[in-house]
Symmetry: C2
Subunit: 449 residues, 2 copies
């Protein structure tokens, strides 16, 4: 077992160091030893002391010893761990039948109509896939086909997925995973990077224009700009908004399409809208959906303007066996039920505001916190060596995360420096969960911040 | 709605022609109309009159009106539609918790150990993914990384999946989906293509050697030979075996790896072994798994020789959110339970022999049947214009398929000419299912063959 971080773990925030295996308690040590034997070195765990859960409800997870953890990290179980309505819907479908899209399936059509109704009218066609990676892979296949271009623009530390194609435009995977020669990087919308006298909108537009020029100089016409609407792995940049209008104009002028990756930001995560791009007042050509879509049952999707996708559909065979089959569709429909019935978006807004206010109050005096960012139930606390240099402090961030985990509250990190606390609970996060989170965070901050 | 076949449907066997929509009964017509509105032209249906199912059990599916269909086509529900043991295992896990592989999960480790125990000792590392496409995409990423090569060899009408990378080596997707410049095609192991005086082994070896030479002449070193162990979309070629030894020697001599795609052939489909490559007496470097793995819950996997995969794992971050999470693992483990407890492989062998004998008896006098191929529960009946020219007869094949569907038995087609009946039932196919199948097939053959 390697005693130092591997090249792959180096860029992975808050990873368990296999060299520390001997320090772990017996059962956990044994599970991880066996795991390494069968899964190999690519499989990484989180936390200095990894954790195993045997049940969950709402934003809570329970370990083997019956200890309750507050989950402030997992976005996949968006309506809550083991939500009874989703469990029932999927279990009933499992007991009935599971057919694929080569058969007529009224529930699939019902689901597609309901999901598309949450989008602007222009975004009227849905394709389903199994994972966010597959969604972004299909989105880029369609973008390439439609535009005839190959050039791709993403943000500097973006993550969009792990197929060969999508990993080629996911710089946050680190040096072991090379970018394509057709890929250009721009800064995320961080107002601190804007030159005095300029605006964020001009800064972003200028960067995209420059990337397009450089691509064309190398013989690549633009296929697509892809942005995560929350810039999750860049370190979470949700505000201010309004800078996308000019960016999208540049992309269209160059013949490209704008792909909004809503795998992280979508399904009401940002509180004030179901989809992150809506906050920007722009219309994407393609939108990709993933993680929370089936509350954990593998399901992802791509929403298209038909003028972008129909010609691809008429020319290129694409059949995804599991995607759109009865079980994921039952899960997806149950998630929409809960989002509506529990008025989740409103809860996200209210509890998010309280969470943000608490985070700001706790960290405002700390010399090690550059800023608190985010909205809805998605927050970043940027940990730095000092407020002047803004140099990332990965060690302090990881200590904070592990202190929280020691007090049974789960968060993790993001950003190129692995120094941005990522607070991204299930949307089931309640008022009392906010209180418990902030009490624990205040205790940890007392020592570390 | 287009009144002729699109370029995408042209290569798709047994597809529903949207121009025939008006002829369909009311409810079905309405569902398909709505479906086309929301899913677009890329989503294709099977049969002249598509069918919708609301429940299933064993190898049986039941439509809205309560009619029972015999399913002789779907391989995903391998242990049977809505198998109670799988339903219970997945439902229990849904109600408990669903965490991903960044947490310690003993059930994942247990499953990985059980699954790997069905492989030769050398194939000792498992990675999980969501779909066969993702599995083949990862396999090729690892093959490229390990070998430093880019060249890929596949069979002439192979299908391996729908990511950008995998579609570039899936010629059966048709002309709308271009092959990569680094991809070379060889004939499937069809003994009829072997020149007099030669052997199938020499023919296959010679083709692979030629493809390697041509790749190298174009500056591509070999990364991998990928073969579906049942050559499903080529038209199903399972016998004779024994030709792979020399093929794999050539691949290794050129520095490449051999990837056995067991998405179709695996999990006891071929009866005499759990994995199709075992029948050849060779050891793959990488094996990919998919469709039946979770009996419909999205789950796929890649099994590696560690010397091929470990360096990739140490250098390249790969995290697949849904893959290896608790729900698919519960499904995968339940499938292994049933395969063991019901001695499925033995059942496949016995019922498969009866099915094959019946198919041969029914078709042996027909001028329109070139041959019956296959083993286990996977059979091809090749429909031709006559036994001399062996020209494909797509129309007759599709008429047969639709006649069967009219009698409530489901099969479909395969092969470049879309003329090979594909008979691939759930492995739950029973003795009485074989009887019903053959009775129906005999009725249809009476008219068409």
């Amino acid at each position: 077992m390697p005693s130092t971080r591997s090249r792959a773990t180096d860029s992975f925030p808050n990873g368990f160091d296999p060299a520390a295996l001997e320090k772990l308690p017996g059962h956990l040590r044994e599970t991880i030893q066996r795991r390494t034997e069968v899964l190999g070195p690519g499989y990484m765990l989180m936390y200095k002391e990894p954790v195993e859960f045997v049940s969950g409800h709402g934003a809570h997870l329970v370990d083997r010893d019956g200890n309750d953890y507050l989950d402030a990290y997992n976005n996949v179980p968006c309506v809550g761990h083991a939500h009874p309505h989703v469990v029932k819907a999927v279990s009933c479908q499992l007991a009935a039948v599971n057919t694929n899209t080569r058969y007529a399936q009224q529930p699939l059509v019902d689901y597609a109509e309901r999901l598309l109704a949450t989008f602007p009218d222009e975004l009227s066609k849905l394709s389903l896939a199994c994972s966010g990676s597959e969604a972004n892979d299909l989105a880029m296949r369609v973008a390439r086909f439609h535009t005839g271009g190959e050039g791709i623009i993403v943000t500097r530390w973006a993550y969009h997925g792990i197929t060969r194609e999508v990993s080629s435009f996911s710089p946050s995977l680190g040096k072991g995973s090379p970018l394509g020669p057709n890929v250009r990087l721009i800064d995320p919308p961080d107002p601190r990077l804007v030159a005095p006298g300029s605006t964020l909108a001009d800064h972003m537009r200028h960067q995209v224009r420059g990337a397009i020029d450089d691509l064309e100089r190398h013989g690549y016409r633009l296929a697509a700009l892809v942005t995560d609407s929350a810039y999750s792995s860049d370190g979470i940049f949700t505000d201010p908004v309004g800078y996308m209008t000019g960016v999208v104009e540049e992309v269209h002028a160059a013949g490209g399409v704008y792909i909004a990756d809503e795998v992280q930001a979508g399904f009401a995560r940002l509180g004030d809208s179901m989809w992150g791009f809506r906050r920007q007042g722009v219309l994407p050509d393609i939108v990709t959906l993933g993680k929370p879509m089936g509350n954990g049952v593998p399901l992802s999707g791509v929403v298209f303007r038909p003028e972008v996708s129909d010609e691809f559909g008429r020319n290129v065979r694409y059949f995804n066996t599991f995607a759109g089959s009865s079980i994921p569709v039952a899960a997806g429909a149950a998630v929409l039920d809960v989002l509506e019935e529990e008025d989740v978006q409103q809860r996200v807004l209210e509890n998010g505001k309280a969470l943000r206010a608490g985070l700001e109050a706790i960290t405002q005096q700390s010399p090690y916190v550059a800023e608190v960012r985010g909205t809805g139930l998605y927050y970043a606390v940027e940990i730095v060596q000092d407020r002047e240099s803004l140099e990332p402090d990965r060690t302090r961030a990881e200590d904070l995360i592990n202190d929280m985990r020691g007090r049974r509250v789960l968060i993790s990190a993001s950003g190129k420096g692995a120094n941005v606390l990522k607070i991204r609970p299930p949307l089931a996060f309640s008022e009392s969960d906010v209180t418990r989170f902030l009490e624990t965070f205040a205790e940890v901050a007392e020592v570390r911040l």
